[in-house]
């Protein structure tokens, strides 16, 4: 080697120490190695041992260092000194802040606990914040699921005991065809990317069903560029084709689903459409061994898919009969749906045929014996290697719940759920709706609520309504307007509280939810509601407490700001009691711990709640002598007992060797830190598939503490609780819906999946507003979860509206042009760009790139404020009036999920603009602005 080549040190010291914790740059919750130099964060990479990301890390995760050093971090508690919304605050001490909070919260708790609305946004500690709200005694608690993906979660739980992401995933190792519906570029982040990479390496086919061909849909081998809101119709048409061809898994349907369960078909009976049950209340099937009635779960019973039974003059037929009648109908023939879906009949047939080919011709058999809950032993595990994944794209429509149900029905008739190569649940799921709590709402001043707020209604008797039918909750969750609103309706809280319907509140207490910006429909309207005053000059929403780590748009609207820490400065637990991070092969949970201490006067929000719970004397948060029970969140994580032997963390319990169940271990958090920040236990091989029906899995689940008794179940293709709400709408039962809702309940709460057009289609003129408008989250940015990040904003610092060729050419757009985009509710002016790989009637943009001037410590000329925008301004929380004297919510009628993606717009070219409209006035920043230039190197 010649000497004129410079010397390079190829083995520099990498760091002083690696601290392993959990990422919080999105909801994926990957394991990260935080490299420290001189006590400072020097570099972040993925943790190779971690079950979620297996060492890889996305752009957001690697940019965590810029989140941690962000200038937008709040510095100290803030008290509002200017008008609400002005951003004028003074810094105060924590003592003063907590005194103010107690001064507001204590009298409410003593007199009218429901006057506190406590909503915790994108909280990952809902099992804790929910407990706090329950102990406080208000019925008004939920997190952000109502404006996110409750349709997906609830449809999955009601149908099969779990949905996607945290509940289940494709069997990436064995699948031969993966079909993804409405999956934008997140949820969950790295596991999907790892999975798609693996599927492609194995030669599996990837099909993307999405109006937009970017990200995962760009690498899909086949792209179905469907019209928004019609996925359900496409799916039901494929079900039509598959049933007509007999390409359905009869054995699986008979044994493991309620397709065999008998339904009362007497049109005069008050039981019509309900299951035939025995004296013990068990649904009945015909046992093929005897031809006689038997309970679905009887030992050795062979349920007859085609069973019928006539007793006392009443005919009962199996659910499968109803399915055949519904889905064999020409209504769902490809020729009759293709145009609405923006597809051709041949394309629908092709997809159905490919599913059939892979499911049945390429079936997998694993030589693993297993026994089902009826005591029947199966010598093999047979799999149908087609798998599905879906997310918000199909969920955030007013027909989203039924569309998600349709997708699960497709999975189930093909025999692909919990079978090799199909979809696999992640412990502690599967868990049927009946194993979840029901909603609770009984308020007693000065005392705790009668149980957990959120749960799964099984019929009208479980609704949260008063005797007169009016909603008990401020968000109207579990009312006749949306009887199965399993995650609450955070997006309706501010507008309901402002309207005083169903009642006025005193204090709005929120965490990590940017409600005055990208987390609300009708953003400008919400800003007005938050600042509106009554005739006496008092704010209509009297008090607002808000906690956030950063200077978000919402901070300006708080009277009291409780500054949170960054994710590297805090304790957290990613708990099995909450939204777990397990994988199909393992049960896992994890922690965050302060890898650096805050350099500001800030406190972890959950620790503040422990403190407030003590000051308010709330049960579970004080000791017998009235002293505060938990000194901080870490203390709660270690010492809280939810059920005997079960706490927030399942690993290293007792003396450190107990897993799942065990006594409190005072050193538990240290053990997690030693183990890389997480704990995992592998699912035994004989438990790996068929989990809802697998006796060995059920025993293991009880041992691990997922539940206390074995609870095998079958998939609910027919959701009987939905039929109960329908029956009420037909006049049966003592709890009756208001008349104006009867028809809608009858039409939409069908116990077998249906499709109906998105509601906006019938409230606005589709000819005037012919274009569908959507948003997606980019893979390299996560709305206002954290702050605007110095590195990531160079990738997504502004957002054009992407237009398909048809719209581009029809309006004569050219590069650099701007457009006026109008909906029935309002208009925006935005930059446009051309994209050919797009459904021809759909436009879209990135979600939440646009920022308000003065927020996030950005300078007022930041591109996010000039060429960044929100579609939210075009979407109202209520649909336009249609002359019936009512204003219908822009939500799914079953769950209340915000129907963001029903939006219809029209587009016109506008004269040269250089700034997005509306131009919302600047707010005064409560933190200093960031530096002009960054040279971020912490080591020598």
């Amino acid at each position: 080697m010649s000497l004129d080549q410079p010397h390079v040190d190829t083995s520099p010291k990498v760091s002083d120490e690696v601290r392993k914790t959990t990422c919080y740059m999105c909801a994926c919750r990957c394991g990260i190695n935080v490299h420290m130099k001189d006590g400072k964060v020097a570099y972040i990479e993925g943790n190779k041992d971690h079950p979620v990301n297996q060492g890889v890390l996305c752009a957001k995760g690697s940019a965590g260092i810029m989140q941690h050093n962000a200038p937008s971090r709040l510095q100290a508690p803030l008290k509002r000194v200017g008008p609400r919304g002005s951003g004028k605050f003074e810094e105060i001490s924590w003592d003063e802040a907590l005194d103010i909070a107690v001064g507001l919260l204590k009298p409410i708790r003593e007199k009218n606990p429901e006057k506190l609305a406590f909503f915790t946004g994108r909280d990952q500690s809902q099992s804790f914040t929910g407990l706090w709200a329950q102990s406080y005694g208000t019925p008004n608690f939920a997190a952000h699921g109502g404006f996110c993906s409750v349709n997906m979660a609830a449809a999955g739980i009601y149908t099969m005991g779990g949905a996607f992401w945290e509940f289940g995933q494709p069997d990436w190792d064995l699948t031969k065809m993966v079909m993804i519906f409405g999956v934008a570029e997140d949820h969950d982040s790295n596991p999907i990317k790892i999975g798609i990479g693996k599927a492609k390496k194995n030669g599996a086919k990837v099909v993307g069903v999405n109006p937009i061909r970017t990200g995962y849909n760009a690498v899909a081998d086949d792209w179905v560029g469907i019209t928004p809101g019609t996925d359900g119709l496409f799916i039901l048409s494929m079900i039509h084709c598959l049933m007509k061809a007999g390409k359905i898994d009869l054995d699986y349907l008979a044994r493991f689903t309620n397709a065999s369960v008998l339904i009362n078909e007497d049109p005069k009976s008050e039981q019509r459409g309900l299951f035939l049950r025995d004296a013990d209340g068990q649904p009945q099937v015909i046992d093929r061994r005897t031809g006689k009635l038997a309970p679905w779960n009887g030992a050795g019973v062979e349920p007859d898919l085609a069973g019928t039974h006539r007793a006392k003059g009443v005919t009962h037929r199996s659910v499968f009969h109803s399915m055949a009648e519904r889905y064999m109908s020409d209504e769902y023939a490809p020729e009759n749906v293709a145009e609405k879906c923006g597809l051709t009949p041949a394309r629908i047939r092709q997809m159905a045929a490919e599913l059939a080919r892979v499911a049945f011709d390429e079936a997998i058999e694993l030589d693993r014996e297993w026994a089902d809950f009826r005591g029947v032993t199966h010598s093999k595990m047979v799999g149908r290697p087609v798998s599905f994944h879906a997310m918000r794209g199909i969920s955030a429509h007013s027909n989203g719940f039924q569309t998600c149900r349709a997708l699960h029905t497709l999975q189930i008739i093909l025999g692909t759920v919990e079978t090799p190569g199909g979809m696999r649940f992640k412990p502690p799921y599967p868990k049927p709706a009946t194993a979840h709590p029901k909603p609770h709402c009984k308020v007693t001043p000065g005392e705790a609520l009668d149980g957990p707020h959120l749960g799964y209604t099984q019929g009208p008797e479980d609704l949260c309504i008063n005797d007169d039918g009016s909603p008990i909750r401020i968000d109207k969750a579990y009312s006749w307007e949306n009887p199965m609103s399993a995650h609450g309706l955070m997006h309706m809280v501010i507008s309901n509280a402002h309207a005083g319907v169903p009642y006025k509140i005193d204090t709005l207490f929120m965490y990590m939810a940017n409600m005055s910006w990208n987390s609300s429909m009708n953003t400008s309207g919400v800003m007005n509601m938050l600042t509106d005053t009554d005739e006496d000059g008092n704010y209509v929403i009297p008090n607002i407490i808000y906690s956030d780590a950063y200077s978000s748009e919402m901070v300006a609207y708080a009277d009291l700001v409780l500054p949170d820490t960054t994710y590297l400065e805090r304790h957290d637990c990613i708990s099995l009691l909450d939204r777990p991070i397990c994988e199909a092969d393992g049960v896992a949970d994890a922690i965050r711990w302060p890898v650096v201490e805050p350099d500001r006067d800030v406190r972890g929000f959950q620790s503040v709640l422990c403190d407030l719970g003590g000051r308010l004397g709330m049960p579970g948060f004080v000791n017998e002598d009235g002293s505060t029970k938990y000194k901080d969140y870490a203390d709660y994580i270690t010492n809280h007992i939810r059920r005997p032997g079960v706490g927030p963390l399942a690993g290293f319990r007792g003396n450190g060797d107990d897993h799942g169940r065990g006594e409190v271990n005072p050193n538990q958090i240290d053990r997690y830190i030693e183990n890389g920040g997480f704990w995992i236990e592998h699912v035994p091989d004989d438990c790996a598939y068929f989990k809802p029906f697998n006796a060995a899995y059920q025993d293991w689940a009880v041992k691990m503490g997922f539940y206390d008794v074995v609870q095998p179940y079958i998939f609910q293709l027919y959701v009987e609780p939905m039929r109960k709400f329908q029956l009420a709408s037909e006049g049966i039962g003592t709890r009756q819906p208001p008349d104006h809702l009867r028809d809608r309940i009858k039409e939409t709460m069908d116990p077998l999946p249906i499709w109906y057009a998105p509601f906006e289609d019938s409230h606005v003129d589709p000819d005037e507003f012919p274009i569908h408008a959507l948003t997606q989250r980019p893979m390299a940015m996560y709305h206002s979860w954290g702050t605007q990040n110095a590195w990531l904003r160079q990738i997504h610092g502004h957002n054009p509206l992407y237009l398909p060729t048809k719209v581009w050419e029809a309006n004569g757009f050219e590069e650099g042009d701007w457009a006026k985009v109008s909906s029935a509710h309002g208009f925006i002016v935005v930059p446009v760009a051309h994209q050919a790989s797009l459904n021809e009637n759909t436009v879209w943009t990135w979600n939440a790139i646009g920022k308000r001037k003065g927020a996030w410590a950005l300078e007022e000329d930041a591109s996010e404020t000039t060429k960044g925008f929100l579609l939210n301004h075009l979407i109202h929380e209520l649909l336009p009036p249609k002359g019936d004297g009512l204003r219908w919510a822009n939500s799914d009628p079953i769950t209340g999920q915000a129907a963001w993606f029903d939006l219809r717009v029209k587009i016109e070219k506008t004269d040269q603009a250089n700034h997005c409209l509306p131009a919302v006035p600047a707010i005064k920043s409560p933190v200093p602005k960031g530096p002009k230039e960054l040279k971020w190197k912490v080591g020598e």
Binding site: M1, K201, A245, E354
Partner: protein, 253 residues
């Protein structure tokens, strides 16, 4: 002007799979993080929190739309960094010798102490793979993480470029493209890996793997049998079901 060393036997480089790259920018930011903290001057950012932020990156992902003659338009994600060319014009153009190609493994580096920030190398690079850091006024480029791949302070499994270690979809591969038996060479052979802009004569070491054909419509008669009707309506289906159930194990009632 600077001379290139004789071609090395070992040619370290990247193989990037355009079939699998989902365009997530994980490699972009992981690279930024490692190389800000490590080799040479930090990768600075101008207008970090104002206007349109602009900083130095050694690796960027571009997206291109492709309109095939038949069928729907496609979107290809295209990550781009220095390709460590065998005939690297950025080296031969360098007036100070700062830009050089390593004799032992072919990695192209910039010796920042000798770099005068003239920008000739960036101008000479046909791929636009070099960026002049605005704060330090030195030329920055992909080092193939020369301070990781041999680093004895890292566990052996981590001795690969940051972008490869972090890529969630497994679309990036690192190895010796001079060794025909290496995993990366095998991958290039199997998948028809190609040179970027071969007409430039730069002989890039990095290779790209092409996307698999998309939206291939199978012939109808291949798939038709899968949807051959067994029944036309519900009654027919139940009749078929009766026979099908009888044929199932334990089916004879």
């Amino acid at each position: 002007m600077t001379t290139l060393p004789p071609p090395s036997a070992k040619k370290l480089g990247l193989v990037i799979d355009l079939d699998t790259c989902v365009g997530c920018h994980a490699c972009v930011v992981s690279c930024k993080g490692w190389n800000t903290e490590n080799y040479g001057a930090p990768l600075s950012d101008q207008n970090a929190y104002s206007a349109a932020g602009q900083g130095t990156f050694l690796n960027r992902v571009h997206s291109y739309e492709v309109q095939p003659d038949q069928g729907a338009a496609q979107l290809i994600h295209f990550p781009k960094s220095c390709l460590h060319c065998e005939d690297a014009p950025c080296v031969t153009v360098c007036p100070t010798g700062a830009s050089y190609k390593r004799q032992e493994d072919g990695i192209v580096l910039v010796n920042e102490q000798d770099c005068i920030g003239c920008g000739l190398c960036a101008w000479a690079c046909p791929y636009g793979a070099r960026e002049l850091d605005a704060a330090e006024c030195v030329m920055k480029k992909c080092t193939l993480c020369v301070d990781r791949i041999y680093n004895e302070n890292l566990p052996e499994e981590d001795r690969q470029p940051a972008c490869v270690r972090t890529c969630p979809a497994g679309a990036r591969h690192f190895g010796d493209l001079g060794d025909p038996d290496s995993d990366v060479s095998q991958l290039v052979a199997e998948r028809g890996g190609f040179d970027l802009m071969p007409e430039q004569g730069t002989k890039p070491v990095n290779k790209y793997l092409p996307p698999r054909p998309k939206d291939v419509e199978p012939e109808i008669d291949i798939l038709a049998p899968y949807l051959e009707p067994v029944a036309q309506d519900a009654k027919g289906l139940m009749g078929w079901l009766d026979k099908a159930l009888t044929a199932m194990p334990g089916g004879s009632k």
